[in-house]
Symmetry: C2
Subunit: 307 residues, 2 copies
């Protein structure tokens, strides 16, 4: 009756054309949980952190209905760390530093209390870890959604392909879709990727929106045009959190409902980029979300009388 | 009671990753007229060609209700010629050759029979020529739409700014909007550009769709995800033709109707890129257009119940 979220909880150093963060809280599962908890609770987190990860960050998520039972704390080790610098277009970035730390030998353990969850969100992580979580579940969830990145296509493609056969929805960005399929056209890429396992494919295009593919059907959700994109870190995870949060809330896994889910994901992502890290996600209210969803309706709804 | 279209009628040599055209018919006003004539007739063309421009091309347009009275034929000169090569992403291209020929000293003359037109579409052309056409009209049209390009921002910015003060709708692509405004954020760019004259701004983003700005309002039309973009030449002009064609047909210049107009422009552009040059535009029927517009509805329409 709930949602399992798997992914990193970590520290990030971020540099954008607008400023530089200190070492701040990040990680795919962190963003997903902050985003999804606006729509569904409880959320069952699976992750690993070091002794340096602030207890108050775990408490803050617990207060939003996110269980930490599946989050391993390795007191004598350090949390995963990523440092990156964004270019002016905010769609491209350089990784300045990656320290795996606790992630290097992470063996996830799914607690007994997490069994029978209906929805599983596999945040971007080592494919073997994603697969291990799927295999530990005694009942297959109603919907398994997976995020991944180009890095795993380069260093763990075989494992990645194994996970792909087990998931319903894959989320990647446009360059990752091209890399995974070896096709430039996103329509052709989508067809090839759906042949690898997932019945649904979401291709995220950053400021250019997101596409949802299923069979021959396609749906497009725009990104909200913003004055400034302050920090894109976590936008994809926040998108995933909004998507799976809406699906888990409604328990409706139809293509029609997934359309709504990617609009909600896009709305959540539009908040994320307004401030550094998770800062904006911690502030927003239901009213903020409703207002933004109304903006998305304004942005794309049109009347047409065929000529 | 009709539409004036101003722009080039020309020859193009086009190279794309999918092939190479011979010297084929092109020019902004050619594409605009082929596109707009699906929605409104008569169309009053203002252009200039050399003796080398095929008479049958003029006749083909006349048969679609496009008047050639305002098209000067300079028998002893050559038509405008452009050669370009597209990169794999189809959003960037290199100009290989530009021969102004008849365009070098083009003084447009608006025929008496063109007076009292309600709508004016200024295709991409020397800003001074665009301005001259506006000044020759005894009654200001109900709506003046202008397309332009980065080249004029670099060699004729003062003239361009004069035209901007006279138009209602400006159409540019995203990099041109950034160049003209000196702002990276398209939201900020739009605000600055609308302060230069036009009350409406359309920013075309190629495969990433188009944005329509008016005051604080914004509307987004996606591009149809296509298997292959075969040749993007003329897509922007075809978009403009669909836009102004719909406006001229409905005689409704409200923001709401402009939303529909940019969807129709996007649908027309999606045909244009399917074959070289104007080839696809010559084939399509009303049924093809209606079917594609229905695809656009499928692509973006969603139901949302605010949570």
């Amino acid at each position: 009756m709930s949602l399992i979220v798997v992914g990193t909880m970590a520290f990030d150093d971020i540099e954008t054309p607008f400023g530089k963060s200190d070492r701040i809280i990040g990680g795919a599962a962190t963003y997903i949980a902050w985003s999804a908890s606006n729509f569904t609770r409880p959320i069952k987190q699976v992750s690993v952190v070091g002794g340096d990860f602030p207890k108050k960050e775990m408490t803050a998520l617990e207060e939003r209905g996110v269980s930490m039972e599946g989050v391993q704390v390795k007191e004598n080790e350090k949390s995963f760390f990523w440092a990156g610098k964004y270019h002016m277009d905010m769609n491209t970035r350089d990784t300045l530093d990656t320290q795996l730390n606790v992630l290097a030998d992470f063996n996830p353990v799914v607690p007994e209390s997490y069994q029978d969850c209906e929805f599983l969100m596999l945040g971007n992580l080592v494919p073997a870890v994603q697969l291990s979580v799927i295999q530990q579940l005694k009942t297959r969830p109603k919907l398994v959604v997976m995020d991944t990145m180009n890095f795993w296509m380069e260093v763990a493609l075989d494992d990645l392909k194994k996970v792909l056969k087990q998931v319903d929805v894959l989320m990647v960005n446009d360059s990752e879709a091209r890399e995974l399929s070896n096709e430039y056209s996103l329509v052709k890429a989508a067809r090839k990727i759906m042949n690898m396992g997932p019945n649904y494919l979401v291709i995220k295009k950053g400021e250019h929106g997101a596409l949802l593919f299923h069979g021959d059907q396609v749906f497009f959700a725009p990104a909200l045009p913003l004055e400034d994109v302050f920090d894109p870190t976590g936008a994809g995870d926040t998108f995933a959190g909004g998507f799976i949060g809406h699906i888990a809330r409604t328990k409706d896994i139809s293509f029609e409902n997934m359309k709504t889910a990617i609009i909600i994901g896009s709305a959540m992502a539009s908040f994320c980029v307004e401030k550094f890290g998770t800062e904006r996600l911690r502030e927003i209210t239901k009213e903020d979300i409703d207002k933004r969803l109304a903006q998305f309706q304004e942005l794309v709804n049109f009347d047409i009388e065929l000529v």
